[in-house]
Structures are given as structure tokens and as C-alpha cells.
Amino acid sequence: MKVNYKYASPSQCTQVNDKTTLGLSPDLSRDEKVSFSGKLKHPLLFRDAMLMLRDIVISDMSKKTKERPEYFAWLEQEIERRIKAHKEYVPNVRETLQKKIDVCDSELLLKNNEIKRLLEIQKNLQRQIDQYDAWKDYYKIERDFWKFIRDRDYSLWFVLDPVITVHKDQVSFEAFSIDESTYGCLSVAMDEFDLLQTPKLGTTNIDFSAKLEKEMQRFRSYTDVTLSINPEGFVIDNDIVPEYVEKKIDLPETWIKGFNQVSSAAALTGIEIELTPSDMYDICAFLRKHKEKKSPRYMKWILEPKKRVKIVFEPFGTVLTLNAVYNGSQKREEKIWGRRRWLVVEKLIPLSKAFHIRFLGFGMPQFIRADMGTMQMTVGFSSWSSNDWVKGTAFNIMAGFTGKGNYNDVYKLLKKERCLSMDEIFDNIKDTKDDKIKAGIGMLFRRGEGYFDIVKNKVRFRHLCNTPIPKELYEITDIESEVQKYSTLTFDNMKVKYTPQKEFIFSTTYNEGRWQQSNVTEIVIDQDGQITKLNCSCQKFKRGERNISEPCAHILALYVASFKLLRLKDLEYDKEYKINDIMEMLL
């Protein structure tokens, strides 16, 4: 999705005597002209929280598997150039070489004693040819490639500007990491500010450069720090013609989709555990100390009612017992992948009074809320960091965000009220079923027009982009509808097998009706919850790539259903369990 940002001037931090102003330039291409000016009461806290938000944006735990079209275009040109050079020089060298070899051969017959010397000449000539070899500098090219990747990823920090929203009761800063897996939202309560002007509500992207981040590090408790959002920009000298800063960004569609999903997932209910700073310290210290090199890489949270929470770190098998006590009524186990992402919160340990962890269930995002008094930092982790293809489909189905509902009514209401709890929305929109309203709220989230505030449990109005996002990014796809349809049939003929390699083999047969051919689907899931093998007898799968890059609706439906069964224990190796056996074991 192509987005154009326009700023009146670059954002800047100015310091006069003991007064520091953090001047943020808002995006002028938005309808709502946001403005704000307020003196911070705890500049150090704000500084450290904002620096942590920056860490979220640049955090990248993903494998570097993204397409690098610019690099490949360059590589292609480079190879072409080298081949051209090769073609240009080699024939001449080869010709000369051939002549010399011929001479050598004839002399070889005549002068046996000269053989060695002639071979030496041949070798030298060969070396000359090698000088023109197109692949001579392969390792240099490879090095250039990695440098290119590093430079490119670094530049993304300048690209993915955070979103700032001025609400009636707080100012929030939202950011999403470049690896599309970590979401951060810093909410600063209005009590934190001594307001210098009446704020104008709305959302904007802010020009938040690396230079500005350095300037923020100068915030001290003995200086007055003012946060200012000024649509007119910040021009110091009147003699200079102000120049607009324009950024044209091609935002990855998956990034937008991921941002919307994680920021809205907070609306879903789940298990909440309160951790002390020392608990978080323990987790981070363990992660800092141990770097896993093989699978499985999850941490298993063992939650037993009224008992201290235990975490098993695989593959080490180390158990960490936290101070926190689980207050739920049922024993549960939650497997968390991508645990190194948790290190992003370590900077907040000294600033926070407590950490609130929210698990939404297997395959769903997790949230950490750091309570810093007047400031609250919400960090959300998407669960499917390496399963891009399943990200959208699984989330929408599991979250129940299907259909449009009464989106128009919800949009109008929230645009007016800006921030309402679910119940308040239900009360305001009368004569409509709650399901429909919920679907409407889901659509609002998917369109990037709102997010769920986990701190106050309210839906907040916020436009993620300055232009409406394309339909493809929020509409329910055909495959999503199909998966929804098949989900009801998955358990009918489901079978599970557990292998000595500790892999689950799930299989099922979809009977879609008397006149339809039944389809046999099978997936193999490893200990990391990743699909390692898959197969389906349907035409769609057979016509496609026949691998994980092009799964059919049957495979997705089986996968969505199967993760509920991954917690099965004490299964016999290679024994086939039918669904009735499994249900019995679960009960």
C-alpha cells in the first residue's frame, strides 16, 4: 500500500537554557489537524518509555526470507555486466591460449623434456583466464548483499513512523515492529502533563527520526520538557524558505494487516497474570543467559490454580518458578513461541510497578502491560511470526471477526465519542443484536480505524493511515469463508498419531455432500507448532504448489482445529487415536 506523508518541517528537539521542547511534526495529509502542547511531569519516565518504543520498531526476530527485489535487480545487472566482460575478454585469451597449447602439444611430441615447462606456461595462462571469471568476486558480492540487507533494514526505522493519537484522557504512541510481530502502545495520561493549550483531538503519524531519538536522550529531571505537536512545523530561522518533508512509503500489506490484528486482539478475553518486576527480571535474565540452538524453542507456562506460576524453557527443560500466583480456576498450560521478543520489555523493569500478562490462547497474540503509574506501556506479540500464510486466516476465524456487522453505526458513534467501552457501545446502538455490533467493531479494527485499549478496556477511535486502506486488507477472503465452513466438518473424521520424533500427525476426511468427492487431508506438526509436512487430495491443492506456500482451505481448517489438541500428553507412539478417544482423554 502506497502512503504519502507530508510534514511541515522535520521533528526536532530544541533546548533553551533549562527548557527542552520535543517538537513533533504531524502528517499534514490527514483530515484531522492534531495539536498538543504540555509540560511533562516525569521526563525520565517518558524518555525511557519512548526509547523502548523505538526498540520495538527496530526489533527484528524474523528470518531474513523477505524478497529483496532491489538487490536482485542489482545482482542481475551485476551478473550481466560480468558475463559481458567475460564474453568480451575471454574469447581472445582463449584463442591465444589455444594457439599456445597447440604449439606446446606439437613440441611435446618432439621434446619430451620440455613437457613440464610447457605445462607451467599453460597453468599461467589459465590463471589469466581466471582473472576474467565472472564468479571470481562471489564472496565480495555476498558481503555486499549482507551489507545491503543491514542498510535496508536500518532504513526501515525511518520509514515506519509511529502513530500518535491525542485522546480526551490520554496521549498514545503506537508502533509496530518491522518484522511484523511486536506491537507497542505507550499511553500517557493527561495527568502527566501541565497543559499549555487546549489539545485538538485526532491521530497522526509523526516524523520520528533517529536523530530525534538521540535528542530525547538528553531529557533530564532538572530540565522542563514540553511535548509539542504543531501542524505548522518548527522553523528556527525566518530567512530560510520552509521546505515540506515528504515521504513516499510503500507499506507492506502484511505490516498493516498485522498492526490492525494485534492492536485489536486486545479486545479478546483471555487469562491474565500479574508479574512483579523481579519475575520479569528472572525471565529476561534467563533469556539473556541461554541461547537455544535447536528445537523446541518455546516456553511453557504451567498455570495451576492458587499456585506459583512455573515456566519450562525448552529445549533446556529448565523450570523457573515465579513469585506470581495464578488465580484461575482450571489448570492450564500455555506454550509461547518467539520468546526472545520478550527481551524488549527489559528496559521497563526498573520503571514498572507490575507487569500484566494476557494470554489469549494457542495461536493468538499475547500482551504484556507495564504499569508505570501515569504511563502504561502495552506490548503485544503476534503468535504466528513465521507462518505468514496462516496469520490472517487463523486470526480472523478464531477471533470471530467475520462479516461487516453494523460497521457504519459503530464508526459514526466512535468518531463522535472517541472512546467507549463495549457495554457503552451496546447501549448506544439500540435495536441491534450484540453479535452484529461486535462484528461491526471487528470491522472497525480491521480497517485500522480503532484499537482496543487494554488498560481501560475501551475501544478507541484512531485512523492508522491517512488514506482508507484497500479492501483486500480488511475484507474476509474467500479462503477464510471456506475455512469457516470446513471448520465444522473437521472433527467428524479426525485422527491423531504421535511419532517417536515427537511430531503430531493429524488427518481427517471432509465429506461435503453426497455428490461431492470427499477429500483426505493430513498435516504433520512439530514441537514448535510448525507444519513440517502437508497433503490434501483436493483439486485446488494438487493444482497449486503442493507445499506450505499454497495451502487449501482443508489444510487451514485442519490446522486451526489441530492446535487445540497439541496439548495432548502421554500418547503412545504411532498409535492412531480417533476423535472419540481424544475427547475422552481431554475430558
Binding site: L44, D48, K214, R220, S221, V241, E243, C284, A285, N323
Partner: protein, 926 residues
Amino acid sequence: MKNLTLQEKQRLWKQSINPIRKILLWGLDSKKNPCLLILYGEQKFEREIKSSPNSYYTEAYILEPIVTYTNYTIFHGVNGHLPSIPNTYYEKENNVLCYMKGYKTAYEHWYYDRTTGYRKVLEIDKKYIIKEFYNIEKNVSFNYYEKNTYTDYVSFLKSNQIKFEDFELIDEPSVLFGFKPDSLYYENVLNMFLKERLYTRKKCLSQFVNMQPSVEDYKQVLKSASIELACGIFQELTIKRNPILLETAKQIDESKVLWAKEAYHNGLKRCLKQYISIFDEKLMQEQKDFIYKTLPEMDFHIKRLKLNNKVLEGKELEEYLNRPYAYSNMYYIFGSQNLYKKNTYTDGKNIYNIKFKNTIQTAKAYKMADVIGKIAYYLDAPRTVYYLRGSGRTGAYKYYQRYLRRTIDRYKEEDEEKFITVAREMLTSYRDNDSLGMYSYFGDNFFFNRYFRNVIVENTASDELIWHRNINDIIYIAKNANASPVHEFCYAILKKANNQHKFDSYEIKELIDLSKIKYDKTAKLFIKILIPKLKMLPEFDTNIMISLMGVQSEKLQNAANEYFKRTNGKFSPKDVVDFLFLDTIETWYTVFENNINNFSSQEYIVFIKSLVEKSEDFIEQNIEFSERIIDLIQNSVEKVDTFSIKEKQELLHYFISLLLSIRKMPDFLFETMENIIFSIPYDLLKDTLNDIDLKHSRITEREYNIVSLLKSIKENILPKNSVILSILDTGSARLVKTLTKVIDKLQDTLTEKNTLLLILFECSVYALNKIAKSVFESMEIEKREKFHMILLDSPIEKAYQYGLEKLNDWYGNKVPKKFVLRMLEHPCVDVKSYISKKLEETFSNLNEAQPDLYIYYIKTLLYLPNRVSKSKEYIYKTIPEFLKYYPEKQKEIECILLDIGSTSIKIDSERALVAFAQIQKEVSSL
């Protein structure tokens, strides 16, 4: 078949389906409106003809001479006008009559019957079936091969008392048309109304118009004419530009009386409009302008395509469509998707046939040959062919093709100039992806094949004299062609023309121009003619040389090099600037470099000024140079060092006035200007600036930086901090170098400017860091301490590390408290860790520490997982000391210690609990 008699040969029928014969007659209905009666009869086979009596296959049939007419239909006219003669199809099997379109679009399937075997069944769309189709009850038979007149038919039908539904036959056509049988026009008029075949009717119409009838005669025809006939008359008059019926046309146009259904009547109005406007210059011009404006919209480029659930747009779509047979592969998609952008001729999904047809007819009527050529190209392109055929508009496609073919054929026969205009327009429009060279089942590229392909395939270039008569147009086409087959066509003709020595008289410049033709063979043809001429040239001509330099051909470039050397060529500075506009500048880099290197000082000044003068052209044409060209220009600035003082001053005056005026210039030129200004020695720059006023209006930041730096040099003051920051961020090396010089000269004033000094510490210019260090180290102690604290606050590593280093050097273990207090809230771990060691030594007591700040500090270090273990140890030692002075913070500290004490990290847990126990012990002992 050889034994057949003459009569039998006349009745020979080679198809297996019996022919259906029709008789057209007129009459009046009960409303006294003229009507058309058509009788239908099947002509039966008399016998089969076989090649031999034993042969299984039938070769042909002999038809019976007598045809029995069994059915009839009646078409009713409106408001005194006859209906147009419809194209109908009689389906004998089901005894159904339909319009021909119904037959062509009918669903066809085979039905099996045990007795008769397979039988084809047609399912005709009901809307095409003619309801007024009746059986003739009595026997009506005529000999098909006898020439019966209208009256013969009428008298037979009347004598046999055959009645028709709401229809009464007219005895004599003159009653309807007003022309008596002895009239000059009778025969023609009768055929115009009566003949079954459209082209026979049209031929008769042309003959009638050529006989130059009077207005009254025309009016007589129009009185009862059908829409079809009236349209034909007005179109014929439009082409002939005959104003005879202008008034009548206006009357008909204004009249509200319909001649047929409204949709048909609109067709007549369209013809009338064309006819009327041809005699009104303004109207005609308006219509022509409209056609030219909307002409590109007739080219139906696909803008969006949904293929296999994937939407293709932009570059991706273009790539897909450029594949061979892309359009034929998506044959089934046409007409079902919104492929196009809405415009005058399409609603996005389908083409407005009437508007398309109207434009073609108008273009023909107004003799707009270029438009005809362009439309012919559009119809030749696969995108149009496959759209029209794929969306079931084959009829329309054939109609347009036929119409244009006839028009172009007529031009070819009668008006060569117009034909050549058509050819120019067509041939320059073809693109390589129009599949000109590919076989197509659907026969796209019809026009190219008809008029041009013979020259390529059958090598008829020398026979087709029309092209040789218009060789300049062929050259124009060759220059502007974009498709290889077109180039091949041009090459074939130009080659023959060259054999006839037609290019011997061409000037060198013209030949150079022709050598740039994109087609290799053609370019080589002209290079071959050009090189001997070039060798004959005795003197160097700059214009010829620059033209030669713009040619891509290596052979010609070698020839140009040879010419340059042979004639001792030399370029003026202005010519060298012109080089920069050549596409081949990279090839001529050495010539460019040699010229610049050999410039005298005056020539170099002229060169630089010419560069500046052309700056707008560089921006307009969006010219970008390679790095080595830019480097060459910028490195050439070194020449300024050898200039005399006067010359340097001249350049400086020129550039400063340029800088103060608001003039846009490309980046490389701006940097060159910057380099030239600051390559002038500092003292000379200062002296020269004394006479220059540096006042300016609002300028860009980049220009402002230069002006500010010049002002600083002139007035001996330091630039503003914002300017220094901006120069350090974005300035060129030369600008930073000059700034360093300015700061170096004015470093005495830096002691009072702490902010600037910090900037110099933090920047990445080594010389400036060095100046800052020497200024800092030579400061008075009081000022130094104040700045030292500022330096330690810096988030830049090299700045605060230097500050820490100096702390160690100057104070050793006795770091003053104010420094330590200041560093407590530093964001970097290194700094915090550093002071942890000093806390105990510098604080004999901790009564001066701000309690909240201290707690913030210890928390940020103690809660740092798995890092700064030694620092943590130091901190734990300071805690009991701190609590001596701030006992009210004991609870808060205890909470922290207990929290850390509960962690699983043994070393941290132990230290925290030991510190906790120590507090408990010490406090209780107090």
C-alpha cells in the same frame, strides 16, 4: 456434371440444404402505412448428381425450377415510411422465422433419434423470433428461373384471391414512390427499394445519386423511404459534399415525426448531423476537434484484469499482456469484466458500438485520413480484435473492418496523398507487442497484411511504385516506427530506393539523422552512404561532430573519431556543455575529459558560466549523469587554483550574485558552485567579500548555509549553531573544511559558547573534535567544570567517554559530587556503571543525593538482567549509607531488595538479601 444441359447447369446446387427463396412486395396496412411483404418458399431437389452411379457421396443437386411459397411475413412501416429490409432466416425444421442475428447467436445442439439418427437442433433466442409469420393457405408457385416482374406477382396473388393479414397489395409501385414506369429513375428507384441484397441496393443508390436527380426527385424518394435508404442517401451526399438536400435535411432533423422506432430514427439523425455539419465550418471543426480529442480513447488498453482470483494492474498487467498470445488466452474474459477505464467509447466493460461507428463514419465523411489510419491500427491490434470477437461482437468487427477496408481501398485508387497519410499513421502506431509477426487464427493485423506485408513476404518493393513516389514519407515512417515488421517494410523499400541512387543528394546532417534509425539494417544502409561522404569532408564542423557523437553505432563513432583527429577538431567551451545533453556522453568521456583538462582559465570560466545558463534545461529534461561525469566536473574545480586573483574574484562575484538570486540548479552544479567558492583561499575570499553585499531574501537552507558561512568569513564571527549543525549534517566536504577553518580562526570565542562546543564534541569531524578538546582543556577551572557536566550529559558515546576519561585524569578517585549527581540520570549504562564505582569514594555521606533520583538510579542498574554485575556490587554497598540520611525511604528500598531477593538468579538474590539484612541490622542498632 459434364453432361448437364445449360438449363440444368443453371439449376445446379452444391449444398446439401435446400435454398429458401424470397419474394419482396409492397402494400398498405389498415392504418394506410406502407408495408413490406416477404414470401418464403423452399426450392426442392429434383435429383442428385454423383461422380459415378456407384458413388456413395452426392456431389451436387439439380433444383426443381418451380418454387412453392408456403409462408409469408409482413413488416409494417411508420408514418408513411417503409420499413428497412430486414435480414431474416427461415428455419424450416420448426417453421420459424427469425432475424439473422437470432440464427447466428442461436444455441446449437445435436439430437439423436433412432429413426433419423443425429439431428441438429437450434435454440433461437425468443427476442429474435418474428411473430408475424404465417402460412399461405393456397398454392403459390413460381418458376424461379423466369424473370417475373412485380406486377406479375401481384396479378397472380390477386387473381388467386390470396389474402394476407392486415395487408393489401399495391398494384403498381409508382403508387408508392411517385415515379411513373416511363420515368428515367423508375428502374433504379425500384431496385433501391426492392432488391434483397444490401450491396445491390447500395449500388443502385449510387447510380441514382450519380444521375443528379432534382430536389423534388429526392423528396419523392424520401417521402416513403425507409430509414436505411434515407441514411444511404445522406451518407452518399456527405461524401460527395453535395448540398442539394441541405434544407430538407434540416427540416427532417428538426421534425419530431419518427420514421421508425426511436433507436433506428436516431441513426438517421446521426447521418443528418454529419451531412448538415459538413457545410458548416464551425460545426465541422467542432466535430473534428472532438474526434481528435477522443481518438486515443478508441484504443482499448486493458487497465485491470482479474485472472485466477488475482487482480493484475500496472506493471504486472503490462508484463502479462506483453506475453505472446496473451489476448487469445483470455478470449473468454472479454465482455465479462471491467477491463477498461470509462471514456467516450466504453463503459468500462463494453464498447459503445454506435459511438465507435459514428466516429468512423464521420471520419470518412470529413475525409480525415489520419483518423482512418489510426482507427485501422486500433482494429488491427490484438486487444481490439480479441475484445470484439471474444465478447460476441464479431459482426461489428467485420463491419468496421469492411468499412475501413473499402475507404482505404478507395483512397489507394483515387487519392494517393490520403492513402499515404493513412499508411503513415498506421505504420508509426504499431508496436512490437501487437503480434505483427505471429500467426493468428482470428486474423488480427488484417490491414497490415492487406497493404504492407506483401512488400516483406513477397519482396514486391520494386513493383509497388506508390512507395517510391513518396520516399520521404517512408523515411518518416522508418524514423518513427516502433515495430520490427514495419522497419522491415521500410528497409525493403529504402534499399530499393538506394539502388536507384535516390539518397545520393542527401546532406551529411540528414544522413546522420537517418543513421539514428532504431532498426539496425536501415541504420547501416545510411551509415554506408554517410561514411564515404564524411571522409571527403576537408574541415572540422562542430555541428556535424556533435551530431555524429549522438549516434549509437560503433562504426560511426569510430568514423567520427577519425574525422575529429584528421581535421584537428577542437570544441568551444559552449560546445562541451552541449555534450552533456548527448545520450552517448559516456562513450565520449575521454573527449569530454581532454577538452576540460585543456581549457585555459578564460575558457574554463566560459564553460562554467555556460553550464549555469543551461541549468534550467538540465532540470527540465531531468538529465542525470554517471558518477564519473559528476566527479570530472567537480574535480575540474582544481583548475581554479591556477587562476589569477582577478579571475578568481570574477568567478566569486558571479557565483555569489547567482547564489543570492533565486535560481534553481541541479545538485551537481550547486556542489560545483560551492566547491568553486570555497576553493578560493581564505584571505582572498575575505578580502573579496568586503566589496560584496550579502543581503538576501528567503532562500533555501542549503543556500542559506553558504551565505551564512560567507558572512562569518566577512565579519569574522561564528555562524549560528543551527547553521553549523546543518552544515555538519548535509554540507559538502569543502563546506565543512571551510567551516573548520572559520572555527579554528575564531576558537578563542568558543569558551563562552557551551552549546556550540558540545556540537563540536559530538560531530564526526575529527578536526573539530580536536579544536573542541583543546578549547575545553584550556578553559578556566570554573567554566571547565560547568561544561564538563554538560559534556557528561551527552548521549553521544565518544563525547561522554571523553568526559569520563577526563574525570579520571583530573580527579582520579575523588570525583566531585556534583558530577556524580548529574550522571545519575544518564540514559547510558556505561555512565551509570562508571559512577557506581565512584559512589562510595566520592560520597563520604549521601546526604546530598536526591532520594528519588538515587532510587531511580539504583533500580535502572539493579534490574538490568545479566549485566554490570560488578557495578551492582558497588551499589549494594552504598544502600545502607543512603538510608542513614533518608530513613523514610527504607520501606521502598526494602521492597526493591526483597523483590530482587526473590529472583532465581542466585548472585543477585544473595546480594540483595545480604544488603537487606545489613539494613535491618544497622537500622535496628540505630
